[in-house]
């Protein structure tokens, strides 16, 4: 039921967003030379069609929601919802936030440190019995990758800022 409601909300938002973006295209600066094939020509086609499709889909969803609430037959989607494993959203949030923290860490503390910690943290997200592998894998993979990019391909990796920049620079 929550899933079906969220579907309605998502497609409603998309319909509104497409209409809004259609008007953003309308407001684009006009070019004198290419007036007949201006910047807004294609965006208007795309967003117009998108708004139309989202609206149609939204109507379908609302109709099926009303059918469901009136005790009608429930289609296959509810089965999908109940199959969702326990702790799904917790793990999803943790994985997503870990990746985002890693993204910022890359920029501030550089590749080596950030990657090492990220790999260690990532390995503990899911139960896995082999603790030795968990601990050993992160440094091996980090150093291998750093060596591969830096010496094998001579491409630079994020070095971080401030003291981390100097440290990284000394290492590779």
């Amino acid at each position: 039921m929550i899933y079906k409601l969220s579907e309605v909300v998502v497609f409603a938002v998309m319909t509104i967003a497409s209409v809004a973006l259609w008007f953003t295209a309308e407001a684009l600066p006009v070019s004198k030379r290419y007036a007949q094939v201006d910047s807004d020509l294609w965006p208007k086609l795309v967003f117009g069609a998108l708004a139309l499709c989202c609206a149609v889909h939204l109507a379908q969803k609302v109709a099926s929601l009303r059918l469901a609430s009136s005790g009608g037959p429930t289609p296959e989607k509810t089965a999908l919802k109940s199959a969702m494993p326990e702790g799904y959203y917790l793990r999803l949030t943790m994985t997503a936030s870990l990746i985002i923290v890693y993204f910022f860490a890359l920029q501030y503390v550089g590749f080596l440190l950030a990657t090492l910690v990220f790999l260690w943290a990532g390995a503990w997200l899911m139960p896995y019995r082999n603790n030795v592998a968990k601990i050993a894998f992160a440094p091996i993979f980090t150093l291998f990758l750093a060596a591969f990019f830096n010496y094998g391909l001579s491409l630079s990796l994020p070095r971080g800022t401030g003291i981390f920049y100097d440290l990284s620079q000394a290492l590779f």
Binding site: A136, L143, S154, S156, Y165, D166, A170, L171
Partner: protein, 319 residues
């Protein structure tokens, strides 16, 4: 495997300690690692090739590489923004060309945030047609335009960039209305050869193979004098249209870079521009006629002049 790992770590920590102590010494032996040169054109294009050619003698001299970093699209703004995000440590340069001056004139970027270093190449462009075209000379072009103004379409590369400005200026001075259609460099050539476009604007170096095979016929040269390679192609100037602008290529660096490093770089570029191997690459593209090496002060003066010129042109063209 595990002990090996530990050895690596020890070595790394030791190296880190040494390097932190030795930090102040780094400035003296500049450059001590790869120098990156950011540019806004595709890999394999004129500027990319220029950077590779000029950096070959510099690599021989220093033992460090000078590599082009191509950040294409967005009219060159993303390339410039990337340059601005780099630290002022002398290891990031940016290529400067008329496209950047136009971006400055249009307010897309601010060229006062870069210190001009050296200008090396000065190119000249051509109006070219396919060998199957009905247009056999620039007179045919003028006649066709007189009959139906705006009927002819010229392929250019980039949107609201240098090519566009040059064709616009030629239109103004010849009193015609050639329409410009932006294309990618390769599609522009294939569309001209296939007869979809009436003409195209391009430099000599990129089209030399097709000119020599007779597939593309140059009609007009935008320069002060005719090229020795193309003695029969008239210049716009001799026909009475004062359009001689060419694409030039130079480099810039962050303004607060160490002065000693800047001096080292300028000297390196000066030697490289005089190198035999580089001279040959230059001559292959008929670039030797107008190219002249100029250092930071002269380049700054030149750049200020260009900014005035292009601001005026872009205003005239209604941007």
């Amino acid at each position: 495997m595990k002990t090996l790992e530990r050895v690596h770590l020890h070595a790394a920590v030791a190296a880190a300690a040494v390097a932190i102590v030795a930090l102040p010494a780094i400035a003296q032996d500049y450059p001590s690692r790869t120098v990156e040169i950011i540019h806004q054109y595709g890999p394999g294009g004129g500027t990319d090739r220029f950077i590779r050619a000029i950096s070959a003698p510099m690599q021989d001299a220093t033992g460090e590489s000078f590599v082009p970093i191509s950040i294409t699209g967005g009219g060159g703004v993303p390339a410039y923004v990337t340059f601005l995000q780099r630290p002022a440590n002398g290891y990031t340069l940016v290529s400067i060309s008329p496209d950047d001056v136009i971006n400055h004139a249009l307010g897309r970027i601010d060229l006062s945030t870069v210190k001009p270093l050296v200008r090396i190449q000065y190119d000249q462009g051509l109006l070219l047609v396919s060998k199957d075209s009905d247009l056999k000379s620039i007179d045919d072009v003028l006649a066709a335009e007189a009959a139906t103004p705006g009927g002819l379409k010229v392929g250019v590369t980039g949107s609201a960039g240098f090519d566009d400005a040059l064709v616009g200026l030629f239109n103004e001075s010849a009193g015609i209305e050639l329409g410009t259609v932006p294309f990618g460099a390769a599609e522009m050539v294939s569309n001209t050869l296939g007869g979809h476009l009436d003409m195209m604007y391009e430099e000599y170096g990129a089209t030399r193979g097709l000119i020599e095979s007779g597939d593309l016929i140059p009609l007009l040269l935008f320069s002060d004098e005719r090229l020795a390679e193309l003695p029969d192609v008239p210049t716009a100037k001799e026909l009475g249209y004062d359009v001689t602008m060419g694409r030039w290529r130079g480099f810039g660096i962050k303004p607060d870079t160490d002065a000693a490093d800047v001096e080292t770089l300028v000297a390196l570029f000066r030697d490289a521009a005089a190198d035999e191997g580089y001279k040959k690459v230059e001559a292959d593209s008929a670039l030797q006629y107008r190219s002249e090496f100029i250092g930071p002060e002269e380049f700054q003066t030149f750049l200020d002049e260009e900014i005035k010129t292009y601001t005026k042109i872009m205003n005239q063209l209604g941007y």
